[in-house]
């Protein structure tokens, strides 16, 4: 296990030159800050809301890797006071879907801070997030000796066809896509890395119902109090050392957890998925995107009678998707 971890970490460090600093505003190493790490490509439309959502939550600084955007994302990010920007030249796929780049940045800047690693279409929801800033959560986890925070992906989608309502910069994606699947998540324990393997939701039931093993993983551990020897193994689905993955209780109790609202299914998705399929830069030969494309032919609608409309974190806790653990 240690060898695996060192291999992943070593790989990230060896490839550090693939990540070229463009504008690093985070001059000296921080301590006890809440940092946000992102890798993106052509997300100009989503950026305004994304940045403001996490700023309001209390992210102190964003560390963003741009993988060759040509839609103005880069120029936009350069104007932001709290963003440090890097550029990655290489292939997304060859860098293990951006994880080598982020592991390097985490190694270099993350240590001693709470590091949130998300995509531009993922929005963190944690217990009490409507009344307490992220700092309250991370400080509580510090005193409780909790090092990692689980937030599974919760796919949200619109009521009608995906392209019906166009998404414009600055809009809250949840205004368009507020529906989610309440109780069709399939969980298996990964004996090797100790993490739970969660699949399900609208993608599994619409595209992978007859072959659920191939459905995309939803388990994520996006918020970690980073230390130099940590490494993400496969996206943020699992990390090493294994203790970081043990975010669940096995004695019947509940630990704290949240979700990442995954607003992938917006109007922007249609262009994106045809582009991504051509690039072939995604996981497992973009199998997922192939399936979407097939579904898209007849105007994909993910909504069903059983879908629920997102209200707040209490609703998610009631449904058993998240838990406040013992954070009263």
């Amino acid at each position: 296990m240690r060898a695996t971890r060192q291999w992943y970490l070593g790989r990230a460090i060896r490839r550090r030159r693939g990540v070229v600093p463009v504008n690093v505003r985070l001059a000296k190493p921080t301590k006890n800050a809440n940092l946000c790490f992102v890798t993106l490509r052509n997300e100009r439309v989503r950026l305004p809301f994304f940045l403001s959502y996490y700023r309001d939550m209390g992210i102190d600084h964003f560390l963003i890797v741009d993988n060759g955007s040509d839609d103005g994302s880069r120029e936009y990010l350069l104007q932001q006071e709290d963003v440090s920007l890097w550029q990655a030249k290489g292939s997304y796929k060859a860098s293990r879907f951006g994880m080598d780049w982020l592991n390097w940045l985490l190694f270099r800047y993350g240590t001693g801070n709470w590091c949130l690693t998300v995509d531009p279409d993922e929005f963190l929801v944690y217990p009490h997030c409507d009344t307490r800033p992220l700092k309250a959560l991370t400080q509580w986890m510090d005193t409780s000796r909790i090092r990692s925070f689980s937030a599974m992906l919760l796919d949200v989608y619109p009521e009608g066809r995906i392209g019906d309502q166009p998404y414009r910069p600055g809009m809250n994606p949840m205004e368009i896509a507020c529906w989610f699947d309440p109780a069709n998540y399939m969980i298996h324990k990964n004996g090797q890395y100790g993490n739970l393997w969660i699949q399900g939701g609208p993608r599994a039931r619409s595209f992978f119902a007859r072959d659920p093993k191939l459905a995309p993983a939803l388990n994520k551990i996006p918020l970690v109090r980073w230390r130099r020897h940590y490494a993400y193994i496969s996206s943020t689905h699992m990390a090493l050392p294994r203790a970081l993955n043990i975010v669940y209780d096995e004695e019947g109790g509940e630990r704290i957890s949240g979700v990442l609202l995954h607003a992938k299914f917006l109007s922007t998705f249609i262009e994106k998925s045809s582009e991504e399929m051509v690039r072939g830069e995604h996981y497992a030969d973009s199998q997922e995107y192939r399936a979407y494309s097939a579904g898209m032919e007849d105007d994909m609608i993910l909504w069903t009678e059983e879908s629920r409309c997102y209200e707040d974190w209490r609703q998610l806790q009631e449904l058993g998707l998240i838990s406040q653990g013992n954070w009263a």
Binding site: H128, T131, R132, P133, K135, A136, Q139, W140, T143, S144, S150, M152, D181, P182, A183, N184, Y185, M186, I187, H188, K189, L196, I198, Q199, G201, P202, A204, R205, F208, A209, R210, D211, P212, K213, N219, V247, Y248, D249, E250, E251, G252, G253, E254, R255, I256, S257, T304, E305, E306, S307, L319, G320, L321, I322, S323, Q324, G325, N326, W327, A328
Partner: protein
Amino acid sequence: MSGVVRIGVAFLCHDELQVAADMVRTWHEGGAAVAIHVDRRTAEADYQAMRDKLADLGDIVWVDRQKCDWGMFSMVEATRAAARTLLDRFDDVSHVFVASGSCLPLRPIPELCDYLGRHPEVDFIESVSARDVGWTVGGLNIERFQFYFPFSWRKNRRLFDWTVALQRKLGLKRKMPEGIGPHLGSQWWCLTRATLTRIFDDPQREQLDRFFRWTWIPDESYFQSLCRKHSMRIESRSLTLSSFDDQGKPYNLYGDHADILAGSRCFVARKVWPGAKDLFARFPEDAGPGHRRDEPDPARIERVIGATVARRRLGRPGLYMQSRFPLKDRENGKTAEPYAVLQGFTDLFPTFENWLQSRVDADVHGHLFAPEGAEFAGRPAIGPGGLSPFPESRDYDAFGFLTSLIRISERPQVFQFSPRDSQELNWFMVTDPNARIRVITGAWVVPLMHSDMPFDDIRRIAARLQRIELVQLRVLRSVWVKANVEIWELSDFAARPGAILQRVVRDLNSASGMWPLYDEPPPQRDLEQIGRFLQRLRNAGLKPRLMGDFPATRSEQEWNV
């Protein structure tokens, strides 16, 4: 003692000095004298900034700074130094109240003074005998006094554990000093001048210090034990509201707790999160003239905290999710709600599902575990909660499928079962007290009898189903059964179908207490030929073992069937 109460606050802090300074100001504005002890390890610059910030206040004193380690005797020394300074410097201080930077006065300080004035000579200090277990959360009890604790639990956990284990092995028992019984309690106490003076002037003091220096967390036992010797009247509770979780760590208070805090009518609460600006802005709060003499009543906030502790320790029954994934038999409830599994009924009564649905307040599904896919009630394209009816999805995580279905549904779930269905959850359901299982053994033979398949195929299928049901019955009759199980042989059931159906429906309605007394049973498949059919199976070499007794021939004609 004079009638006028003046509080002296022994104020201990080590970080977040800006917030602490605001707290000192609050106490001071309420008329209290404050003696401030700042941990020596706090940065000098921060300390000076705090001093500058409070330079305009009159009745505060700065106590010589010492190094304070959590759980070590230095905490007692700091508290004692601050209390002593208060008594020496302010002749009018009648009570000493211990507080920290995260203790927030919820009510105006004069109300607290008035309360103390109305209970003269009472020492508000939680003091629980360590011999009667129960005060500490997840820690040592009487052993705190019997062993030596040279190492800090926070910093040298391994050495700490090792020394405890060693002393336990050696059977070490330190002797308590004469006249002292071991008592424990919250370190946030409020003692009268008289009691404190007697504690400070105790002739045994050096011996006591030597003893307590090596106990564990003496700040939770030193004053608590000594006041038993010196106090006139102990009210064993703290005026500071403070709750602990199952790890013995105090709960933080946030802005969203403001209303329950105000409702608790407690004088002081901790531990306030330093970033909870709305709490600092709101409290102390004067609830109006009618409430000045309210008694503190922390029951409601303790209920909130108690519910959270239970959630952390026991969790919600039948919930399997990203942060609760119990091992087998550690579930604290395998499923969330009662449910029923009916086996054999649909084989006898083709319209059973609809017939039952109109008679019970429950969701009556078909065969949820059928090989062709889950037959949800009404056969929707997507089941409750978004569950996929495809067999591959269902069988990929069958536990999750059943437990999610039960948890997401508002009504109790009833589903049909048979040896044709996936048998994966047999042990799970049988060991689940929420399950009601009703089985008519051998009923699967009835549709076979009526089918027009070649007899060879029928015989093969019958052999397979019988084998499966025999295995299942072994599970249903094991000693591990927790479910409510009833089993009838087909012949028993056929002898009085009406009465048994009645009972099944009644059991499913037990919650509402209503069931139709005289009822039309659903149309039943014809059982006329069953005796002969079973004999044909026997003649083909397959012994039917689950159907009970049906006569092989009832007339000469039957020989020719």
